[in-house]
């Protein structure tokens, strides 16, 4: 072994590493210089993180578009904070739905000195990243992480503009028993953080409202064959099957239920409430029921207009884009009321939010969760999701009509 040679190689390596990072360094001043360039314009940096690559890239992209539309709207409107014109700047990062990458991204946002975070998309990334935002004192609003734990950590800076799994599971459980008249209920979950969390809350709600969970089975988020568990469930003869998971599994599940002659009604959460579900399930989708937090866009005052503008710019809404739009607006209004873009200063105003958004009228409870979060249940009829019923929300807390 020639130690000298190794050392030279190692030094070269270190040099290469340094160089590689220099490329990045050169870009930083460009963004840093922006505030001065705009004269007395104040620049608000919004961080957005979601999986922009990987199996959920379509959802992440959708979130990003929602944030972007809000940012464009605010900039076009000439939004003012504390008497100064502001320009919102979007920093969007890919967290790959991976907790490890998400924490790195979070550190990057802290470095960049963002004024607020919209994100992350998944609960599995939002929870570890929230610790970093909390330590740095940055306000975080998640548009789509539904795990109750996110807001239960005691972080004052953590908010979400979507009903959490407890709220959604509760509504679904009650709906299953009371509205769908199910007595014997089967539950399947995909053993992901989302699916399992929702299924657990659903189970509790079913039992609380007098229903009976007769069988609970499991699959995984990459499976496509459910015949074994469905056959077992058929043997028990439930009148409703709840699936906690995503459309990629929910769709073939409805097909296989048909094939096996399992006559239970199919109910799912927001993960199956997609356009994709219909494509994959084909005729078997008919009659499937699923919930989506919030009020249908058609019902909200600003909803249809949002939908039309969004779709003209970015195509069909996948899932959470409207929530992202609302999240940005909530943050912007809190900044305006506080007259400051400093998270420490506008944080108290976040808690006092009363915002008529495109998804719901938004206010937060003491944990930062949506108070009175409305949830709407839909059913597939003639290949389209039709509104069945909206539970909670404006009905429970009448919106201040203009």
């Amino acid at each position: 072994m020639n130690p000298m040679k190794n050392i030279v190689l190692l030094a070269a390596l270190a040099g290469a590493l340094g160089l590689s990072a220099c490329g990045k360094k050169a870009e930083t001043p460009a963004t840093g210089a922006a505030p001065t360039a705009g004269g007395d314009t104040l620049v608000v940096k919004l961080g957005h993180a979601a999986p922009l690559t990987g199996p959920q890239a379509h959802l992440g992209k959708d979130n990003e578009s929602g944030v972007r539309l809000a940012v464009d709207d605010l900039n076009a409107k000439g939004f003012e904070i504390g008497g100064r014109k502001v320009r919102f700047e979007l920093l969007s990062e890919d967290d790959q739905a991976d907790p490890r990458v998400a924490t790195t991204v979070a550190k990057k946002f802290v470095d960049d000195g963002v004024n607020a975070i919209i994100g992350h998309l998944n609960s599995g990334t939002t929870i570890p990243a929230s610790r970093i935002y909390h330590d740095a004192g940055i306000v975080e609003v998640s548009p789509s992480a539904t795990n109750p734990k996110y807001t239960q950590q005691g972080y004052a800076n953590a908010f979400r503009v979507m009903a959490n799994d407890v709220q959604q599971g509760k509504v679904l459980g009650e709906f299953a028993v009371q509205d769908m008249g199910a007595k014997k209920i089967a539950i399947i979950d995909d053993r992901s953080a989302y699916g399992q969390g929702l299924a657990d809350e659903f189970e509790k709600a079913v039992m609380a409202s007098g229903g009976k969970v007769v069988v609970r089975e499991y699959t995984n988020d990459k499976a496509s064959d459910f015949t074994a568990i469905l056959t077992k469930i058929k043997g028990v003869g439930p009148d409703l099957l709840f699936y906690g998971g995503m459309d990629g599994q929910g769709a073939p599940m409805t097909r296989q239920m048909k094939t096996l002659g399992l006559k239970a009604q199919f109910l799912g959460g927001d993960g199956v409430h997609t356009a994709e579900f219909m494509k994959l399930a084909g005729p078997a989708a008919e009659g499937a029921t699923a919930s989506l937090p919030g009020v249908p866009l058609e019902v909200m005052p600003k909803g249809p207009q949002f939908k039309q503008r969004f779709e003209a710019k970015y195509g069909t809404i996948q899932l959470y884009a409207p929530y992202c739009y609302d999240a940005v607006m909530v943050v912007a209004e809190a900044m305006q009321r506080a007259g400051s873009i400093d998270p420490a200063k506008y944080l108290p105003e976040m808690a006092k939010t009363r915002h008529e958004g495109v998804t719901a009228s938004i206010g937060f409870d003491d944990k930062g969760d949506l108070s009175n979060g409305a949830i709407t249940v839909y059913r597939v009829e003639n290949g389209d999701w039709k509104v069945l019923k909206t539970i909670g929300g404006p009905a429970a807390a009448p919106a201040p009509t203009p």
């Binding site: 690559t53 053993r191 499991y218 064959d225 096996l260 994959l280």
Partner: protein, 309 residues
């Protein structure tokens, strides 16, 4: 009782597909002593190409019965996969035939990663829907349901396996394959073109794999760039279970694994008092694999010992 029959039928359908894929692994292993990790990806590409062709045919307004359309699309998918299998062997395995044993295994993993990601670039990250053109009405057999498609899958798989057996045991090429699997050197001395035989093996295995891919995507109504990986792993377990390198063993192993999975997911909860449940469905395949390799490395029907030099 009809629940048990249904579970057995579920296992039979799953098992036929495993068996068909397992044949691809076992043929290559028998001849080269190599686990072709990329075989699962060939299955996936077969499914994807077929779906693309189907969509093109339907989009261009061809009015034919669904089954015929699938058949036409298969005519595109089979050569595509055969070519792919042939290319993989030429590029990634042949240059390493005399290299240390780990080398081709690692290139195999590399090929598998490349194919998965290429597929994602071409067909996207989402599930791709298989057009609903095949009849999905179930028939009742002994109190259990089965669709015409599923009957076709089982029959077709059986026919293809029988065809392969005939080919290996009754034709010149088959004899050359068997000779090569015993000793490539001696076979080449006897006038067998070993490279040709190996190429043919990959081509044949890929054809079977592409048909299996179509069966899977038609049965479940969808395909995904990742679908080949787990499917391949399960099928490989099946091949090992039956005794790798042994064609009959692959068939038996595939069917057995399908049935073990179905019965396991269906009944394990009752047997263990709810301690283990269907959440461990994928564990069964790996457990079976490990147990077989540890206690009977030659598999159920294999004669060869696992420790090949």
């Amino acid at each position: 009782m009809d629940i048990l029959v249904q579970q057995l039928i579920n296992g039979l359908i799953l098992g036929s597909i495993y068996a068909l894929i397992a044949l691809g692994y076992t043929m290559v292993y028998g001849i080269l002593g190599l686990i072709n990790f990329a075989h699962g990806e060939i299955v996936m590409i077969g499914a994807m190409v077929t779906i693309t062709c189907l969509n093109l045919l339907i989009g261009s307004g061809v009015e034919l019965p669904g089954l015929l359309l699938v058949g036409l699309s298969l005519l595109m998918a089979i050569p595509a996969c055969a070519l792919l299998g042939f290319t993989i062997e030429r590029v990634a395995y042949r240059p390493l035939r005399n290299a240390p044993r780990l080398a081709p295994l690692i290139t195999a993993i590399g090929v598998s990663i490349v194919l998965q990601n290429l597929a994602m670039m071409i067909w996207g990250r989402q599930y791709v829907a298989f057009p609903s053109i095949l009849p999905a009405e179930p028939h009742q057999v002994l109190g259990a349901s089965i669709t015409s498609l599923q009957i076709l899958i089982v029959v077709l798989a059986a026919a293809m396996m029988a065809g392969l057996m005939l080919l290996v045991h009754r034709t010149r090429l088959g004899r050359a394959m068997r000779a090569t699997s015993q000793s490539p050197q001696v076979a080449s001395l006897m006038g067998v073109n070993v490279n040709h035989v190996i190429s043919m093996t990959f081509i044949l295995g890929s054809c079977l794999g592409s048909v299996a891919g179509v069966m899977v995507s038609a049965n479940y109504g969808q395909a995904h760039a990742y679908m080949g990986f787990l499917l391949g792993l399960k099928a490989f377990s099946a091949a090992v279970l039956g005794g790798i390198g042994n064609l009959g063993g692959a068939v038996v192993g595939g069917l057995l694994l399908g049935i073990i999975e179905s019965l396991g997911a269906g009944y394990i909860g009752d047997f263990t008092g709810g301690f283990l449940g269907s959440q461990y469905q994928d564990v069964f395949a790996f457990m079976v694999l490990i147990l077989v390799l540890v206690f009977r490395p030659s598999g159920l029907m294999g004669e060869r010992v696992a420790e090949r030099p």
